[in-house]
């Protein structure tokens, strides 16, 4: 089985060739074009140029939609679940299958899933709505669905991004087994150790271009890194010596909050962040990060406990927190409080409409002063293009994030809550954000960094804890990643079960 492919737009001359019975990894940084490439394969994106052959036969790309892809034997498991959340696993498998007939029979559907489970050794619970499944279970259900459709090429887009190290260890052998049964498995990742553990061959993309294809056995981490980044892998920005730590500026005391789903309710959180330190909160998405962020942003009401700033409890509300000097920076533009349709100048002032007399006086909004302020921020933070009236939605991800950073950090808040601040950013922009965070810390602010990127937490934090099933658990200092993984999963001794 061969697929040869080269396309333009987000991709410029990228090639990928996958053989039957192999696990083929697709490696590249964020934004290198990996997802776009496989989306073309799955019929979701139409390329501007290029050829696609499946099973030795060329495909008419003008007519190649998801249905055609499925018929051709391409099965895709996306990074974000494409199961219908309100449906059970068996309903999800049944609804789009034309061969299933006109009637939906629950028992037959269940039997079919059970047969698949037995045949491939993948477990996914029946009778439960997809939205209530764990991420790992959902993923397995999606793989089952692809196999059910007769996929001969199975594509997994960053499957391990949302799994714990233990779950990853369980997934990789499954991929090998699937390959052994004759499928071609394409596995997208930017985690070198996993790729080396399971892939036969690796194709590296950099900025939309194919850099080369190598056999795993014939390469090593350094050269792969070089292919991926175009230079030797830098160590992450070295952590500078922590400034002398000051008084406690942010404290969570007995904080409890209801959860969006199972296992994410916050339970009895105790945390202190001092002036001049960064405390990192690591964890896997779905363990309470969103709830914690929302409480610290003043958007969610805790059911018990309190948040203290400089020793005094803060009443609920985004405005109250801001008035006490707490800033909130998020990697998700909407959660960062950025309105895409409004201009840079307006976004910079969005949180200040209630009380900032420099721009809002006696019921009037001083647009000229706002524009001046915006230009100053644009200059100071290097926002491109330097137009205060430009809609934030038209800026690139990195520049939009700079607007958020400018807004939150320009006033030197004494407390900053940063949540996944570099999500979706390219390396340059991420580095910029990290540098600003470190500078803020050195100036004496207290920073709570909540991030699902373990590397980010470990690199920036003076102290780190983990958020596991809604509880805060200490992270072993400088331990090996498997031990940390165990803690994140809640497997370490001494951690109470859910």
């Amino acid at each position: 089985m061969e697929k040869r492919f080269g396309a333009r737009a987000a991709l410029e001359g990228a090639d990928l060739v996958v053989a039957a019975g192999e696990v083929h990894a697709l490696l590249g940084e964020n934004g290198a074009g990996k997802t776009t490439l496989v989306n073309v394969l799955a019929g979701l994106v139409r390329p501007d140029a290029g050829r696609l052959e499946i099973g030795g036969r060329a495909v008419d790309l003008r007519r190649f939609g998801p249905r055609a892809a499925r018929v051709a034997g391409v099965g895709m498991v996306h990074q974000h679940s494409t199961l219908v959340p309100a449906f059970t696993v068996e309903e999800n498998l049944a609804f789009a299958d034309p061969a299933a007939g006109r009637w939906f029979r629950p028992r037959a559907a269940r039997a079919r899933v059970e047969a698949l489970r037995a045949r491939y050794g993948l477990d996914a619970p029946l009778g439960v709505r997809a939205e209530s499944l764990s991420v790992g279970q959902r993923q397995r259900a999606e793989i089952l669905r692809a196999l059910d459709r007769g996929a001969r090429v199975l594509v997994l887009d960053e499957p391990t991004a949302v799994l714990t190290p233990g779950e990853v260890r369980a997934l990789l052998p499954v991929l090998r087994q699937l390959a052994a049964s004759g499928c071609g498995v394409v596995f997208i990742s930017h985690k070198l150790d996993e790729i080396r553990a399971v892939a036969d061959r690796i194709t590296v993309l950099r900025r939309g271009r194919g850099v080369g294809t190598v056999a795993t056995a014939a390469t090593d981490a350094r050269s792969l890194g070089r292919m991926m980044l175009g230079r030797e892998l830098d160590a992450l920005a070295p952590r500078r010596a922590a400034a002398a730590r000051g008084p406690v500026l942010l404290a969570l005391r007995g904080l409890c909050a209801p959860g969006l789903r199972e296992g994410s309710a916050l339970r009895d959180l105790e945390l202190e962040v001092r002036a001049g330190e960064i405390v990192g909160v690591a964890g896997i998405d779905g363990n309470g990060q969103r709830e914690l962020e929302e409480v610290l942003a003043g958007v969610r009401r805790p059911s018990a406990g309190s948040v203290e700033v400089a020793g005094a409890p803060v009443p609920l509300g985004a405005r109250a927190l801001r008035a006490r000097g707490v800033a909130h920076l998020s990697g998700d533009r909407e959660r960062a409080g950025l309105v895409a349709a409004m201009s840079v100048a307006e976004n910079l002032l969005l949180k200040a409409t209630w009380d900032d007399r420099r721009f809002f006086r006696r019921g009037r909004f001083d647009a000229e002063a706002a524009a001046r302020h915006a230009r100053a921020c644009i200059e100071a933070f290097g926002i491109v293009p330097p137009d205060p009236e430009r809609a934030v939605g038209l800026l690139s991800g990195g520049n939009a994030q700079k607007v958020a950073v400018a807004r939150e950090l320009a006033e030197r808040p004494r407390v900053l809550v940063a949540v996944n601040p570099t999500r979706g950013l390219d390396v340059g922009s991420a580095r910029f954000v990290h540098e600003r965070l470190l500078a803020l810390r050195d100036a004496g602010s207290a920073i709570a960094l909540v991030s699902t990127e373990l590397d980010e937490v470990l690199a920036l934090s003076d102290r780190a804890v983990a958020l596991v099933r809604g509880r805060l658990v200490p992270l072993p200092d400088g331990a090996d990643r498997d031990a940390i993984g165990a803690v994140l999963l809640g497997e370490a001794p001494g951690v109470a079960a859910a």
């Binding site: 994106v45 494409t82 219908v84 449906f87 609804f95 006109r102 939906f104």
Partner: protein
């Protein structure tokens, strides 16, 4: 008491028909507030065709056709064109109001005739059952149709693959698309079905409840049908219950009025709308709406 229940079901029939149609539309993820206009168009078409041909059956067919024509406009603009669904629905209501008024004038200048009525049908044997008999089995055919439609929709949604597909499109259009479902086609089909139901519901007004057409005679019934869908939590049985509830309220209103009451007439007329508001305020319905309700869908990276 029996008379009251019988009247309740009879009055609920048009609401139930329109609400079931809208239920299917909303389970597919589309909000059509143009139900009002479609009912009005159906009422007029039924009236005009039945009066001209003497056949109520042709009238019902014309009603469905007229409403489906409006539904096609809605589908083109809101589903395929991805325009805002609320706005397009409003436009259709205005259009129907104006067009039916125009047509009334144009076609019946000299004075409108009355349309032939549709007689009740009594099911033999069953109609004689004590208690339940006269209520359920000696009813207008529209009531039977509405009940049958309710059962049909319930069965189709839960037990057919087409029903699953429809629900998938309404809950998570992106997921359905990724599975190769033609989201737009499903939604267009749902809209046309809902329109046909609304049209037939309108024909009840001019063929069964009264036998004339007056400008704007639907008077908000289409909007009450929308409320019935919410109140019924987007489930066929719930919609049935809600429609019966409103039918009962209307029947009570007429009964009290006939008995001669000190309450002024306009207050009576206010009653169904006020009750609807109260019901919406106290029944928390938002949480169970289909996930993608009201959001136009477009696959990223592909033209239209």
């Amino acid at each position: 008491m029996e008379a009251l229940l019988e009247a309740a079901l009879r009055l609920a029939a048009p609401l139930l028909l329109a609400a079931l149609g809208e239920l299917v539309v909303e389970r597919a993820g589309v909000v059509n507030i143009g139900v009002e206009g479609m009912m009005l168009a159906g009422a007029f078409a039924a009236f005009a065709v039945a009066a001209a041909t003497g056949s109520p059956a042709l009238g019902v067919g014309a009603a469905a056709a007229a409403a489906v024509a409006l539904g096609a406009v809605f589908a083109a603009a809101a589903v395929l064109g991805r325009a805002d669904q609320i706005v397009v629905g409003t436009a259709l209501n205005l259009l129907a109001l104006g067009a039916t008024g125009l047509a009334l004038r144009a076609l019946f200048e000299g004075g409108a005739p009355t349309a032939p009525g549709v007689a009740d049908v009594a099911l033999p044997g069953l109609a004689a059952l004590p208690g339940v008999g006269p209520v359920l089995f000696r009813q207008s055919p529209f009531a039977y149709a509405a009940l049958a439609l309710c059962a049909g929709v319930a069965l189709a949604l839960a037990r057919t693959r087409a029903g699953l597909v429809l629900r998938a499109v309404g809950e998570a259009a992106r997921a359905a698309d990724a599975e190769g479902v033609r989201v737009a086609a499903v939604r267009v089909a749902a809209v046309l079905f809902g329109a046909a139901a609304a049209g037939v519901a309108g024909s009840v007004l001019t063929l069964s409840q009264t036998h004339v057409f007056t400008e704007g005679m639907t008077a908000g019934r289409g909007f009450i049908a929308l409320a019935v869908v919410v109140f019924g939590r987007w489930r066929p049985l719930g919609v049935l219950g809600a429609a019966l509830f409103f039918g009962l309220a209307s029947a009570l209103q007429f009964r009290l009025q006939a008995r001669g009451s000190d309450v002024p007439y306009p207050v009576f007329l206010m009653f169904p709308y006020a009750v609807t508001l109260a019901v919406l305020a106290f029944a928390a319905g938002r949480a169970q709406a289909p996930g993608d309700l009201g959001r136009p869908y477009a696959r990223e990276g592909k033209a239209g």
